[in-house]
Structure formats: structure tokens, C-alpha cells
Amino acid sequence: MARLLEVRDLTTCFHTPEGVVHAVNGVSFDLAEGETLGIVGESGSGKTVSMLSLLRLIPEPPGRIVRGQALFQGKDLLKLDREAIQKMRGSQVGFVFQDPMTSLNPLMRIGEQLSEPMLKHLRLTPRQARNRSLELLKLVGIPGAAHRLDDYPHQFSGGMRQRVMIAMALSCEPKILIADEPTTALDVTIQAQVVALVKDLRRRLGMAVIWITHDLGVLAGLAHRVVVMYAGSIVEQAPVRQLYKDPRHPYTLGLLGALPRVDGQHAERLANIAGRPPDLLKPIIHCPFAPRCRFAIARCWETNPALLPVSDAHQSACWVLGGTGEPFGETQVD
């Protein structure tokens, strides 16, 4: 698969009255055409901020992209001028936000909201845009689409609103769809529908998907590759099977162990990740996970490990479990 997006050393911080918050610390990853990449991490791990940084959607100030590169179709997104990045956002990269209740304009009819990016980016006539809006609503499976173009957002249920958001993100046929916790606010039945919809659309439209979540459960059947973030850094990345079968970072192990399973293959007691994520006001010197890690050795408190190769496509930032060869000690999630 050809490389579509290449992010290198992305670093973003926020200047606050309390000091500088190091939100994203040197994140590098690739996205291939047609690939679904899962980004997983707790709140505050920097997964949303890194995506918003790519599209330059973080407020500056207080935010600042300190350094990094994000190559997309030969252009560095981080160096584009205002107009060029705006064009990119609507037309090449679609963004679906977490909360479908608050990210639609309550005073605008759904048809108008859907048409807006197409009028701007594709220079369609209002009539063309309206026809295309109707097609999009049908594409995302809204029943009675023709009658719903003139409805307002409050007349849609949560799942339907998230479908409208996806339709809007797809309106200009983007190369990349970034979905930020798109199903967290939804019921599990609706989540299953949205996941099936995105998988189907990816297949039909051939776009790449970046799916941000804190739940490793939903990624298992959806992502090709998974990136695990902690304290603003990538701590592990691997093809989906390898990540679940052979996790090589204690944080990934912890996330998997904390997850109860509906098929009953679970432990009597859920694994706890004791403690809390580090204070991002302080620059990170040692391994950011060391204070919560049951494998930590002296070296972990001295230097922060970079991503070490485990196998071809699998890397882990851990002195103990990372690297090639047999992992040290017992790593099975029980």
C-alpha cells in the first residue's frame, strides 16, 4: 500500500498560566492508502491534540506546534498557509468529532449544513449541493433521506446525528477520514451500526481512516494497525493481531487486562493500572509510564526509551518488554 500520510516528530505544547503543558511529544507514524489506523489512549494522552495539530485546528495561542512534519501528497501540512490548510480540511481530510449532539449547528437545517463544505470546496451550485446532500444521507443509511434534508439536528437521534456528521465529513470525498471517539457517546447497538458503516464506506470509497478511541475492544475488528499513546508519546505500534496477541508495552498490557469481555473469557478480577498519568507540565526525562509500571527497572528511571523494533512492523518504547527476541518475564494478560 502506498504511503498517504507521513508524520514525523510532531510536538505540540500549550502555554498556560501554570506553565507549559507538553501535550504531544515527538509523535511519528505513517498512514497507508485505504488503511484503518487505530489510535488508543486515556484522556489526556495526546491522541486528539495530535490529530488537531495535523489539521492545525488547535487554538494558537495558547497552543503551539513546536516542531515536526506531516507530509501529505508531498506537502507539509504544518507549513501550509491558512487558505491552503482550510482547503485541505474540508476536501482532503474529513473530521468526525466525538459528540454528535454539540458539533452540529442547531439552527441550521441538515441539508444546508451538508451543502456548506461542497459549496465552498467543490464550487457546486446550491441545487447540485442539495442533490449530493441527499445522496450522502442515503449513503450513510438515513431512512427517508429526502424528507429529512429540511429537518434540524434536534429531530435526529444520537446515532442518526453521528451518521450526519460522517456524511458531512465524506461530502468532498476525502482521502483520510479522522474519527475522534465517534462512538463513545453512543449505545453499543448504534456503535455496531456506525462501525459497520465506516468499514463499508472505507471499502467502497477507498479512503484511509484514523479512528481515535480509549477502548481497545472496538479496534479489534476495525483497525489494520494500532498506535498506543501515553503522556503525549507513542509507546507501542503494531499490526492489530500482533498488538492483541503479543503486546510489548506494560501500558498496552494494562489496557487489555482492564477490559472485561462479553464472551466471558475474563479474569476473576480486572487488572488495575494503579496511579495516574504523569503531570504534563513537567518535561519527561525518564519513561513516563515508569511510576505505574510493574516491570520498571533502574534504567527506566534514567532514560526514556525510544520506540524499539520488536519485529518488522511492531515497535515498543520499553526497555524491558521491547526489542527483538523473547520478552523478559511473564507478559501474558490473564
Binding site: S43, P143, D187, L222
Partner: protein, 331 residues
């Protein structure tokens, strides 16, 4: 199963909310049938899970059982009394024995009260303890839920979501209740923090012999923590049974659809799985379908489902379902 002591008995509980206008403001007096005749028992020391999609009435059911909402009909028997008939002082007399942990740890704690004030409030209302006694109890409770007792002068905003939920648990425990309703206690928390709170709830149950009604939409977590599970849809119970039976041999098509929608954190299993997707949305509880409430989304629906409300029958010992197509034998 040996004879178990029933702690709470819910009989044909109904809670309707009157509405004067419909969703777009047209005058149309009617009722939202949030809870529409549910009956079940909760045994001492168990955790009963109450699951369903948003809007199915599970939270309303919880609040109506505790008499935070007064029911439209039905009875709730707790400690030998029908709570629905109690008023004022009598009802206040029962309240210390039944408590609630709320869903949103960000919204359920008064931001202008310190943690110490929040946790001692129930003591102030229901006991005659001295200031020093209350302070001692607050420290004890904070320690019990795994927080530093010296943090009692802090305000809720200084705590993370998981810690706030611990404060909510401490507050619920203050009066040594027997019965606690946990209303989606973890759904606002990160996965790793969910595990911490669930482990805490399990530890406390073991230590104090607590009985929980655990209201949730996360079926994986319910399987982990509950002994029995009740499935609700549009204000009615669809299925009720022991955990393993409900998860391994679900009787009701709705339960099967719900279970199949839950992703399993295993890429190999996920690759083979074809989730049976529920189509459409939940109908409005102000205007539910005739007959079986689930029939509009059910793959098995037939004429009888339109005409007749299926009875909530005991299909296997202790395992109930409300569906015309669940046979009595052969399961």
C-alpha cells in the same frame, strides 16, 4: 440454587411522565411510559445488572425504586415495608439503608462543597453525630475508597474523574447502607479507571455484604460484575436470568442482538464475527408499538407479535423472557 433471602421485591412498577407537547412543540397531551410494569427480586448480597439502550427506562427504574421519583403504580418491598406507601419521616427512616452512586462524577458533586462536607452531608441529615465523630468517619471513608484522608478540605474540581467517583462511593457508604443502586457508575470514565472503580465496588461488596443494582449499558462490564442480569427495552423487562445463562444461552431476540453488538477485544474472533445489526431506532416511549414493544426491530416478528403482548414467562428455572417465540421446552 439454595433458597436466597429477598432484599428488594419490585412488583409491577410503573412510572409514567405526563407530557403536554410532543418533540416539536405541538399540543398533544400524553404520557412517556418510562417504566411500564416491571417485576423482579434482588437477593441479599448479589449484584443484579439492569441493562438496555439509552432511553429504555433503566435509570428511571432505579430512581423509582429508591422513591426519588414516586411511582405511578406498583410496589417496592424493602425491609418488609412497601416503600411506595411511605411518606415523610417513615421514608426518611428507610433512606439510610438504600443509597445511590450516580453516573456523572463531574455533575453529581456540588462544586462549592469540600470533599469533607460532601461526604459528611448524609451524616448531618440522618445522624446526631458530633462534628468530631463526623470528621473521623469522613477520614475512615476516604481511606476505605482508596483516597488520602488528608484531602478532605479539597474541592471536587481538584480530583480526576475516577477519584470523584470514589468520592461518590464514599458518600453512598457513609450511612452503612445494605443496598446501593449504581447508575452507570463507570460510563464516564476511561477504561483503565473503570477497572479501578469496579474493583473497588467488588471489594466493598465482599467486605460489607452489600447488595447492588448495577445499571449499565456496557454488557461486558455487567458480565464481569453481576450475578444476575435483567434486560430492559422501552420500559419493560425482556429477559432476566443468571449471568451465565443470559450470556451463553440468551432467550430473547433483543438480548441476542445486544450481545452480538458488543465488540470482543480479539482480532481473530472479530474477523469471523458477523454482528446481527439492529436496524432502526428505539420507538418513542410516548407512543410504543402494539403487542410486543420490540417487534418493530425484531427479525422474528410475526402477526402474533403485533396483536398480543408476550407474557414474561419463566422458561428455565430462574430464567425469564417475554417473547412469543421462546419455546418452553428444548432450551
Amino acid at each position: 440454587m439454595t433458597e436466597q433471602e429477598v432484599l428488594v421485591r419490585v412488583e409491577d412498577l410503573i412510572k409514567h411522565f405526563p407530557v403536554a407537547r410532543d418533540a416539536v412543540g405541538r399540543r398533544r397531551p400524553g404520557h412517556i411510559r418510562a417504566v411500564d410494569g416491571i417485576s423482579f427480586e434482588i437477593y441479599r448480597g448479589e449484584t443484579l445488572g439492569l441493562v438496555g439502550e439509552s432511553g429504555c427506562g433503566k435509570s428511571t427504574a432505579g430512581r423509582t425504586i429508591l422513591q426519588l421519583y414516586r411511582p405511578t403504580g406498583g410496589r417496592v418491598i424493602f425491609r418488609g415495608k412497601d416503600l411506595t406507601e411511605l411518606k415523610g419521616r417513615e421514608l426518611r427512616g428507610v433512606r439510610p439503608h438504600m443509597q445511590m452512586v450516580f453516573q456523572d462524577p463531574y455533575a453529581s458533586l456540588n462544586p462549592r462543597m469540600t470533599v469533607g462536607q460532601l461526604i459528611s452531608e448524609p451524616l448531618l441529615v440522618h445522624t446526631r453525630q458530633s462534628r468530631a465523630e463526623r470528621q473521623r468517619r469522613v477520614r475512615e471513608l476516604l481511606e476505605l475508597v482508596g483516597l488520602d484522608p488528608d484531602l478532605d478540605r479539597r474541592y471536587p474540581h481538584e480530583f480526576s474523574g475516577g477519584q470523584r467517583q470514589r468520592i461518590g462511593v464514599a458518600r453512598a457508604l457513609a450511612l452503612n447502607p445494605e443496598f446501593i443502586i449504581c447508575d452507570e457508575p463507570i460510563s464516564a470514565l476511561d477504561v483503565s479507571v473503570q477497572a479501578q472503580v469496579v474493583n473497588l465496588l467488588e471489594d466493598l461488596q465482599e467486605r460489607f455484604g452489600l447488595t447492588y443494582l448495577f445499571i449499565a449499558h456496557d454488557l461486558s462490564m455487567v458480565r464481569h460484575i453481576c450475578t444476575r442480569v435483567a434486560v430492559m427495552y422501552l420500559g419493560k423487562l425482556m429477559e432476566l436470568g443468571p449471568r451465565e445463562a443470559v450470556y451463553n444461552r440468551p432467550l430473547h431476540p433483543y438480548t441476542r442482538a445486544l450481545l452480538s453488538a458488543v465488540p470482543v477485544p480479539d482480532p481473530d474472533l472479530e474477523a469471523e464475527r458477523e454482528p446481527a445489526l439492529l436496524t432502526g431506532d428505539v420507538p418513542s416511549p410516548a407512543d410504543p408499538p402494539s403487542g410486543c414493544f420490540f417487534r418493530t426491530r425484531c427479525s422474528l416478528a410475526a402477526d402474533i407479535c403485533r396483536a398480543e403482548v408476550p407474557a414474561f414467562r419463566e422458561v428455565r428455572p430462574g430464567h425469564y423472557a417475554a417473547c412469543h417465540f421462546v419455546p418452553m421446552e428444548g432450551w
